[in-house]
């Protein structure tokens, strides 16, 4: 009995600091966020009165916020599509490499370590009217492109940047998933005459389903955190068509001084991300359960 109490105290002493940290820097700000979202908190005007759900009504009745959510969703779908396909094949390739596997893995992971703001600024410099991108186009015989006037190109560079940055991490996750597939299954399939393609479709992909589901949902959650590429490359150009929801929160809060309204938008995003997280947990738990049942 005494031994258990001692262990319990030891455990508490480890848990308390992080709990206090969580309370101070996560829970308290979260509660404040919910409170501000039902006020007209304006830093400049020094107003902070309760306004009920007025902010939420504004969000759900103004088309510009649906547009921002749609923009965020479109970018998320594009990032996931390209990121997962490229990440998967990169993982397959890295898995098969006999020499220099670690070196290549590190090389592909480097973009994940670079600050997004730095990479965004780099792209922004490339896209200046007489920047490298247009110099290449002109060298190939074309005319300089007005990158910022084109929705296509703005989406292209934002998606390219985020996909490139996340490719290494996605590949590492897929490699972890591939490591969990027993080589004996492949051997058995080879003996039965299955080609590489059939092995991938009927063995690899089904067994990777939990990892694919996890990456998909985490990717969508990550998409709601996109900000630097929009702030530093497009600034919403052309004409607000690349304004993601986080950019909207930022401009309302820090350019229009309306921290109360920005908080309300943040709460909406929080709820969406929470639902995605719960979905992720549901999918993950369901896959674990299926695996356990299959094992039995």
């Amino acid at each position: 009995m005494k031994l258990q109490k001692k262990d319990s105290i030891k455990a508490l002493s480890c848990v308390i600091p992080s709990t206090v940290y969580y309370l101070l820097f996560t829970l308290v700000p979260l509660v404040m966020l919910f409170w501000y979202s039902v006020t007209n908190y304006n830093v400049l005007e020094q107003t902070n009165a309760f306004v009920g759900f007025q902010n939420y009504v504004k969000i759900f009745t103004q088309q510009q916020y649906y547009s921002s959510l749609l923009t965020t969703l479109i970018i998320a779908v594009l990032i996931m599509a390209f990121g997962m396909i490229l990440g998967f094949f990169l993982a397959l390739g890295l898995n098969k490499v006999l020499r220099g596997k670690s070196f290549l893995r590190v090389l592909w992971y480097i973009p994940a370590l670079l600050p997004m703001a730095v990479m965004s600024q780099f792209i922004s410099i490339l896209l200046q009217p007489l920047g490298i991108a247009n110099n290449i186009v002109r060298a190939l015989g074309g005319d300089a492109v007005s990158w910022y006037d084109s929705v296509f190109w703005m989406y292209f560079f934002i998606v390219l940047l985020i996909t490139w940055k996340g490719l290494g991490s996605t590949a590492v996750l897929f490699m972890a998933g591939l490591a969990g597939v027993s080589p004996e299954i492949y051997e058995a399939a080879s003996i039965d005459g299955a080609t590489g393609w059939r092995r991938m479709v009927y063995i690899t992909l089904p067994l990777m389903r939990p990892m694919i589901g996890f990456i998909l949902i985490m990717g969508f959650i990550g998409a709601f955190n996109i900000f630097e590429p929009v702030q530093l490359i497009s600034r919403g150009a052309p004409r607000g068509q690349t304004e993601v929801i986080l950019y909207k929160i930022y401009t309302q809060g820090f350019d229009n001084f309306k921290l109360g309204f920005a908080s309300a938008i943040s709460v909406v995003v929080f709820v969406i991300v929470l639902l995605l997280t719960l979905l992720n947990m549901l999918v993950t738990d369901s896959n674990i359960l299926k695996a356990e049942v299959a094992g039995q």
Partner: protein, 465 residues
């Protein structure tokens, strides 16, 4: 058991310290320290800059001014910081005020009136000698509705026409000796180095563009225009005011839809056709200068003193000279825009009543000697009438360069106050509507009058959102 509780308490204390560090109210109530947010020409880390660039003129003048302050006030430690300019500075200040970490003194321009209107700044006590000596143009942003001063204009600037003489020679407009070469311009009495009217400037720029188009080089042209966020509005205002137009009234009513503005924006559109290809896609003024103006790809740009000064540091830059801003034929309006003004204000703090140190600092900055130093070092136009009228200014070096930027302030035939309006509500949204409008002026064929009608409504709706 005791040691376990000790560990628990130490861990808890560590966590609380980490939390408390984030809640630091700074040195707000420490009378021996003054935190000041500065911007160029003041260099916050001038000592470090001078180690690698001993001739950096902004660092040198910063050292001169702030070391004099340190000698005059040895008990006060100055903590200088730089948080950018314009929107960037405004965002930083909003966050600082919300987080109770605002500086004691802050520099600013565009957003200053909105902070004054919302009682975020403390009334200044500069004294009658200084207050009565400040030019009327600079007072527009610095005073509140109650007539008190809240923002001291330490330096200012106006717009002029920056001219790349090398391009004019290359395009056959001028001879090598800078006399007029083009026969048509000569016959019309148009001086490309001092175009009095926008219409004359358009004629010159059209000729330049034709010359380069015929030579197969569409990446060179006559006029450079700013289609950038914020920068575009400032420079377009110069055209508007010389046509007799404005963006809004003093009480925040939009007045975009006027014949004067129509004239101004039509001229902007016509001039934009003479711009080098791609120039209107530049994201900021720095790109316009370094990719087009300094490398001799365009002849004219409306800007402050910066291109004139910075050209001297750009390898391969052509000969760049300034001239007075043109006006419109028949309008009879001589006007300009007060731009790049460094207003210094004292930020109001909760539970603080004694702002004596900050007030002294503001009075120190506003000294005549400092205004002369800034003019000599970085061609920052003084805001004190006695300085502008003094022999010290008249007899200074490079008077020919300084005059186009000082004349609009001292010449009584010029009429203007301040810069672009500071909107008290939804400024980001209002200006985004303006940015779309300006982009349409440059890139679409829709009638200017129609665009002005639309933007009048869009900006008004955004303001009232």
């Amino acid at each position: 058991m005791k040691s376990f509780f000790k560990k628990c308490l130490l861990s808890l204390l560590a966590a609380v310290c980490v939390g408390a560090a984030g809640c630091n109210g700074g040195t707000q109530n420490d009378p021996s320290k003054l935190t000041v947010w500065v911007v160029a020409p003041f260099v916050h880390n001038y000592a470090q800059v001078l180690k690698t660039k001993p001739n950096d003129r902004q660092a040198k003048v910063s050292k001169e001014i702030f070391e004099e302050y340190a000698r005059d006030y040895p008990d006060i430690k100055l903590d200088l910081k730089n948080y950018g300019w314009g929107t960037e500075l405004n965002q930083a200040l909003v966050k600082a005020i919300a987080g109770n970490t605002a500086p004691d003194v802050v520099v600013g321009e565009m957003y200053v009136p909105s902070y004054i209107a919302n009682n975020q700044f403390v009334p200044l006590e500069m004294g009658a000698e200084i207050e009565n000596d400040i030019t009327e143009q600079a007072a527009a942003y610095g005073k509140g509705a109650d007539g008190k001063w809240y923002a001291a204009p330490v330096w200012t600037g106006t717009f002029g026409l920056s001219i790349n003489v090398t391009v004019l020679i290359e395009a056959g407009i001028l001879n090598e000796d800078e006399t007029v070469k083009d026969a048509e311009l000569k016959a019309a009495g148009i001086d490309p180095l001092h175009p009095a009217y926008w219409e004359d400037l358009l004629t010159i720029c059209t000729k330049i563009k034709t010359h380069y188009t015929n030579a197969g080089d569409e990446y060179k042209g006559g006029m450079l225009l700013s289609n950038t966020h914020e920068g575009g509005a400032w420079r377009a205002l110069a055209y508007q005011r010389t046509a007799g137009g404005e963006i809004s009234t003093d009480n925040q009513t939009m007045v975009m839809n006027t014949p004067a503005n129509e004239k101004a924006y039509q001229m902007l559109r016509d001039l934009s056709k003479t711009a080098p290809k791609g120039a209107l896609e530049s994201s900021n003024e720095e790109v316009i200068w370094t990719q087009y103006f300094f490398p001799n790809k365009a002849a004219y740009i409306v800007d402050g003193i910066d291109p004139i000064v910075r050209a001297g540091y750009f390898d391969g830059a052509g000969k760049i000279v300034p001239a007075e801003l043109p006006t419109f034929k028949g309008s009879g309006v001589k006007s300009n825009v007060l731009v790049g003004t460094g207003y210094f204000s004292i930020v109001s703090k909760r539970n603080k009543t004694d702002y004596g140190t900050a007030q002294e600092f503001i009075r120190f900055l506003m000294k005549k000697e400092n205004q002369i130093r800034l003019l000599n070092a970085d061609i920052r136009v003084p805001t004190r009438k006695s300085v502008l009228e003094s022999d010290a200014v008249k007899d200074m070096d490079d008077a020919a360069i300084k005059e186009p930027f000082i004349k609009p302030i001292i010449d009584p035939s010029y009429s203007f106050n301040g810069g672009i309006p500071s909107f008290l509500k939804n400024p980001a949204t209002v200006w985004s509507k303006y940015d779309y409008f300006l982009d349409d002026v440059f890139k679409k064929d829709t009638a200017i009058s129609a665009l002005l009608t639309d933007v009048q409504k869009a900006m008004t709706d955004a303001y009232n959102e």
